[in-house]
């Protein structure tokens, strides 16, 4: 924690570049990465902020980590979006804890109060909306596995959210809650995911459509959950990961602007 604070006071300037997986030409931009803190209810929480060194208001993205916590891979995703000119905050729902293995991830995930996680995301939205470099009407969220569920919870409870991307996440089933979603939703899933069957995707898409909302969910054959995580050698599927990234980038360009 003290190390994090030291980092925050130093303020790190990073040159971040879009990864090679991007089909579009990498538009490397200088972005600043730092740990910031903001209020969530009565608590002060921290997040990893990447902000492009550009004048004016920019679209912004809230990044929500998976069950392992705010790890290096998640920070890299924040940097990738930062390199594309977005103001990005990667929230830390676990209050500094990072899982070293599956058991840890389980212990942390099942210990996370749902209401607190949603409050943290709402607070991140408020934090971004109050920043002078953020275009308030262009704030999106993206989350992986556990984080995807919470991204959708934010979409349900934050009517001003501009876009929502989920990868390998559980999907809400309550039709009344789904009908509250205003943001268009993009999703990327592994077809071999044993926990999230194709029927769950179809049910969610149908519920979105009947509420008059847009959901674009894609299922990748030969891929399971975690397919876009290059740090997970067993699960990583480079082709599917590149396609999912391109879909995500195109979706943000469409919904948030460039």
């Amino acid at each position: 924690m003290t190390a994090l604070r030291r980092l925050a006071t130093l303020g790190l300037f990073l040159a971040v570049s879009a990864s090679g997986a991007t089909a579009a030409p990498a538009r490397t931009q200088i972005a600043r990465a730092q740990i910031v803190s903001y209020l969530s209810g009565a608590e002060t929480v921290s997040g990893y902020l990447v902000s492009p060194a550009r004048a004016g208001r920019r679209p912004a993205i809230i990044v929500v980590h998976g069950d392992r916590g705010l790890d290096e891979w998640t920070k890299q995703q924040a940097q990738r979006f930062g390199a594309r000119g977005y103001v990005v905050i990667a929230v830390d729902l676990y209050r500094g804890e990072i899982a070293r293995n599956t058991e840890d991830a389980h212990e942390l995930m099942r210990g996370l109060p749902d209401d607190r996680a949603l409050r943290d995301l709402q607070a991140a939205f408020t934090y971004l909306a109050a920043r002078r470099d953020v275009r308030t009407t262009k704030i999106a969220v993206i989350g992986w596995d556990m984080g995807g569920w919470y991204a959708l919870q934010l979409a349900i409870h934050q009517p001003n959210l501009a876009a929502c991307v989920v990868d390998d996440s559980a999907l809400p089933t309550d039709r009344a809650a789904i009908a509250q979603i205003r943001a268009p939703v993009l999703g990327n899933f592994g077809a071999d995911d044993r926990g999230i069957p194709a029927s769950a995707l179809q049910t969610f898409e149908a519920a979105m459509q009947s509420a008059g909302h847009a959901a674009d969910l894609k299922s990748y054959p030969g891929a399971a959950d975690g397919f876009d995580d290059s740090s997970n050698a067993d699960r990583y599927r480079a082709g599917a990961a590149a396609d999912a990234w391109n879909r995500t980038v195109a979706f943000f360009v469409k919904t948030l602007g460039d």
Binding site: T102, E103, A105, E107, D114, M146, A170, D174, R194, G195
Partner: protein, 257 residues
């Protein structure tokens, strides 16, 4: 001949009837079974264990860990049935049972939480409609992931009469906490990385300030899952025995007539 045949077959039928009555009397009544009930558009399965006595009984909803509805959960249901409760162990995973942490985490991660809460509310409705259940005496208990959902049952079901939680994530939202009516019993491991003593104390204070009945105990030297005898690394037999005694005393005080 026809008469003889007839009397012979009558005698055989009589023998068969006597034999089957004898078998019925000798064999214990079936006390556990898999039942199904409606939850929204879905049909949910659960393991139901019944007390031996007749009449209306208090009932308990049991909520599993991230392993799913495994044998340890069924044993817990049986133990509570032996103490006079109609015990319903729900299957939130629709048949999924894991034996490795990786598989278990995959099941937990892909469980839509709104569906889980709906399944549990439907379990309450199912129990309340059973002729052998006293609907004013229904409690819930959960372990680990299921402990968090036991809190959710208390938040969403005002008629719940008792809520037991074993190392489940406590809610933090004041509106949710004030919605709880049932008295709450909690058993936590002091070494739990995911639910820290700070989290436990914060809920305890908020709930007590809101006038709720909360009885929490923290076990030193125990982490999460310390009650699970099948989890070799986590199991703490003494703490587990103490927690079980607290659970049975709590249900007896709040659910028994």
């Amino acid at each position: 001949m026809r008469i003889m045949q007839s009397s012979k077959s009558r005698a055989l039928v009589a023998l068969a009837v006597i034999a089957s009555i004898g078998a019925l009397l000798a064999a214990p009544l079936p006390t556990s079974q898999t039942v199904q009930y409606k939850s929204g558009d879905d049909t949910v399965s659960a393991y139901l264990a019944l007390p031996a006595s007749s009449g209306r009984h208090p009932a308990i909803i049991l909520i599993h860990q991230y392993w799913g509805l495994n044998d340890w959960m069924k044993q817990n249901a049986q133990k509570l049935a032996d103490q006079g409760y109609v015990a319903l162990a729900v299957d939130l995973f629709r048949g999924g049972v894991a034996t490795t942490p990786g598989d278990a985490q995959e099941l937990m991660r892909s469980l839509p939480k709104d569906r889980a809460v709906r399944d549990l509310e439907s379990a309450f409705t199912y129990l309340a409609a059973r002729p052998d259940v006293d609907p004013a005496r229904i409690g819930s208990i959960g372990w680990c992931m299921g402990g968090g959902y036991s809190f959710q049952v208390a938040i969403h079901e005002p008629a719940l009469a008792a809520c037991a939680v074993n190392y489940g994530a406590p809610p933090t939202d004041p509106a949710d906490i004030s919605a709880i009516h049932a008295p709450i019993l909690g058993n936590f491991g002091a070494d739990d990385q995911g639910i820290t003593p700070d989290n436990v104390h914060a809920f305890q204070q908020a709930a007590q300030a809101a006038g709720k009945s909360v009885d929490f105990k923290e076990y030193a030297g125990a982490g999460h899952a310390f009650e699970d005898s099948t989890n070799v690394a986590a199991y703490r037999p003494e703490a587990a025995a103490d927690a079980w005694n607290r659970i049975t005393a709590f249900f007896a005080a709040n659910l028994k007539p």
